[in-house]
Symmetry: D2
Subunit: 316 residues, 4 copies
């Protein structure tokens, strides 16, 4: 692999204009790079389904404190089955149910979620030049909220296993992924990321958490280096799902602490799925030696919210 | 349409044994009727995608009190865009984000959700004969929780528009749907519900809510009559999604107030999606004169929870 | 009772300056009218305790939707006693507990709560001239949060029963309370509101809810008319607790829809307790023919929060 | 100080009968040791107020993860002041408010709270012999819930500074407090705990957290040793507030891991306040050389809940 060239912060700041998609799909656009997923692309994605195998790419939600968790997801039972096994349960009548309440601040480092384009701003603006104050405290996002995906996303997914080309079990905090890594993985796996594709990046970060424990937020995480932004733009990636956050942290820059989010979401309108897991998918891809599949997203239809917890599906 | 025969409560109670799937797929089974969705069925469902059109079937989540709402979904902003538009916003540094907390008791009458098989019990037992006390207050469902669907569901969906065969804009509270209605719709639309299919029932109940206002829980809702249970079993339906709850209410029985849930979930292991909406899908089905499609579910991967809010997708 | 003179909106707007306490207790002050509760006042209040009778003035928190409720208080059990009565409960070991989670948006019309001075702004300013943007979304109130009452409040309380002087069971929505009402009650009861006192106003609004049902937010509620503001200032009231919200609604003004909150909190630094109930206290006051007592407030010590649910105590 | 005698587990188990208050105040009683707080006691407590000084004994609620925190308290702004400082804020009209949502699982190790008597069970029974299954998942506590304290508590408080008699800055995890410690503190301070008193125990545990960091739940905490139970019973203590949990942990016993809670709450009906702080109160007690005061509790009036977060007040 060639030695990556690391752009200066000034050069990365210039990406805000050179990689910008503002106006590209009209001034009313709220879909950003998902415009690259055409009806034809969807039909082609569905045609990839051969084995009839569906694999989830979400981490389990766990109601527990940990070094990389701020607010653990809440899970409260409102009715349990235990009540219906008490000695006098039959006296309560025949209706027997269980039910629960769930809650979460889903933009965490351990919850598989998709960011709406209104999640990140740069200098008071969000994607396509709208003012950040359209994301209000009292009524949520008045534009670019997750409801723009109420019909879901179906496109081709491509899994790139970065750990394989690096020859490691997992990348560590601070390990950046460069275009050279992406292309090395493409070459090794015999695939090529094309326009409208969902790029699935396996960095091994979830496996690390399972096997070696949670790493605190302060220490950081592996992810794409800002140097990958032009490559993502050129290839026309519509969505990136990574098993860490997208951004290597620390980023190596002073102003741009999360440049993949900052340039990607704000300038490019790029959709990001954080904290996915590909450990269930990987063995199937290896066994079948196929790295492309139908990729499906079905975010919650919650108008005004800045993203959604999701279970991305790879269907082979 | 022939006059429906209404079974007595004793006859419906006998369905618990005559329609039972306990043991049918092994004593360890937690998937119930989703066993009828084979790899081949999934591949066939994907092959239905022709127009490359994806349509969501979830109602919007709305944080507002209403006559049919117990706990409104919670949506709190943790960071808003407004902060970043204050006169001195630049002093806070370049990182600008918005984020939110969401929460819900999703088993409501207005939230599109899927019931896990542990959601309903009959006489202290859940599907496949397990004891209800395995759904605990302190650790949630120890079995049959929604995590059994962590890989999602892909199958053929069939939309039956019951309002059309009834010649009404919407069914009203207490209007039951009988096998005769289902078959009349099949005939009118030129489709047939087959093994493993997801049955999508449009009763117009969401449209009624939008146009004529919410109906209080006490008054009731339209839905399948218990008389439909043998038909659902015989056809091998894997999932039902209705734009009301599944069960007509009042049910007409004294013990069995929600027999589709009670017999369907507990005895048959049938998967139910409550409070969907098909008003976005219907015009496409009508325009294209096609009533079958790939149907995709991707519930949250939240171990121990008794179901999940979802956005079902119909892909044409 | 003399016919009350109703000030014009221009006159009420002038109260922002004529009744202002900004700077009165120093530019660093965050206590407002609670500065009027001196150590001597506290000791005098304690000396009022004769019967050794303590009476709560909070409404019960009820987890139920209603016409005057936006988000019902949440109450979820995290562990219940039922689990410990199951046939095999002893196998879980001897520790047996119950526990719960509670949550609320406490600034509701039905939750007894105290407003911190940062709860209301006028033209971008809060009490004592601070900028409203010190109440931030991400870190809460950086000043004038409820933690300024972390040591509680002990002062003299005076109960005025406005229903008695009006000769009604309860005031209705839109019924304003004027200085003439307050003085008529003082005269009838033989008391006088003095500097530092907590003024407890019984309007019968909680009784109405219990007996005749909840009134929707849109219809309004009874409360103090803006005309009472100069009287409150002159008398040096430190806290007002009413069994409705403080403000009559509709207020009769166009800009000032809640002038008791707007002028009272922002200009005067006046502490307001909304949605109290005095139906438990009233019969004791009548029986003992005493209308003054030690009044105690102990808000939650939650830094950055804009108020607190409370149980005000009257000790006789 | 004499060497404490440590009772065997069998001896502590016998306390369930020898120290029992079941039936002492009638079979309907739900107040337990608070029956010892008579009207006369309340009046005497109020008479202790001399300096007119009120001091809060609650820790601040902090929305942050830590080693001794399971679910951090939630604090979400529903409206902030920032919105009202935006350049175009005046266009939104004159009403300007901030508001928030708070939530908590208050039975944590870091939240100052009082346990209702239904919080702990022994062999399926709660205080006064009631069945544990009266604390239900769907409707909360049907008896002995915190609403029995809706009128608050006013009694004499006595602060015993155990760190002083031990000659340490703080007790460490596992350090038990024995009757000998309590009497040594009484002697050193010139006070005596009497019937109906609230016993305030300063162990320095909050100070330790502030100065040396949070100790994980697993390591333990200081607290009363089971050997103190007969002393508490004999003296007629009505409430204990400690700046740790009440129980030393580990307890030294196998079945009784929290004997102060288990014997105290279940057998004696003793009221416990966990996680208080007396660091604000202590210097005043030292300066004034007075260790008794009016002690006031005003729990939230939330029927069916198993306790309440509180701000206990000491009034000198």
């Amino acid at each position: 692999m060639a030695t990556p060239v690391i752009p200066s912060e000034v050069e990365v700041l210039e990406y805000f204009s050179s990689l910008s998609n503002w106006g590209r799909w009209g001034e009313d656009d709220q879909l950003g790079t998902l415009n690259l997923v055409t009806a034809e692309k969807r039909a082609q994605a569905a045609a990839l389904v051969r084995q009839g195998l569906t694999i989830g790419c979400a981490r389990p939600l766990v109601s527990a404190a940990a070094a990389d968790v701020v607010i653990p997801p809440l899970h409260f039972m409102m009715e349990s089955g235990e009540s219906h096994c008490l000695p006098h349960a039959h006296e309560r009548g025949p209706r027997q149910m269980s039910a629960d309440f769930i809650g979460m601040g889903f933009h965490g480092l351990t919850i598989t979620h998709i960011d709406a384009l209104c999640h990140i701003f740069w200098e008071g603006k969000m994607y396509n030049g709208r003012s950040a104050d359209l994301v209000t405290i009292s009524r949520g996002a008045l534009t670019e909220g997750i409801e723009v995906l109420k019909d879901g996303v179906v496109t081709r997914g491509v899994l790139l296993d970065i750990t394989k080309v690096r020859g490691v079990e997992w990348l560590e905090a601070g390990d950046g992924v460069f275009p050279e890594d992406l292309e090395a993985a493409e070459k090794a796996q015999g695939v090529r990321v094309e326009e409208g594709d969902a790029l699935c990046l396996r960095l091994g970060w979830f496996k690390r958490r399972e096997q070696a424990g949670a790493v605190s937020r302060e220490i950081g995480r592996p992810g794409l280096h800002a140097a990958s932004l032009p490559w993502l733009h050129e290839r026309g990636v519509s969505v990136i799902a990574a098993d860490a956050s997208q951004d290597v942290n620390p980023s190596g820059y002073s102003q741009l602490d999360i440049p993949i989010h900052q340039v990607g979401i704000v300038a490019m309108g790029l959709w990001l799925i954080d904290a996915a897991q590909f450990d269930d998918l990987l063995p199937h891809c290896e066994r079948l030696n196929r790295w492309t599949f139908m990729f499906v997203l079905a975010p919650l239809h919650f108008p005004g919210v800045t993203g959604s917890p999701i279970t991305p599906l790879a269907v082979l």
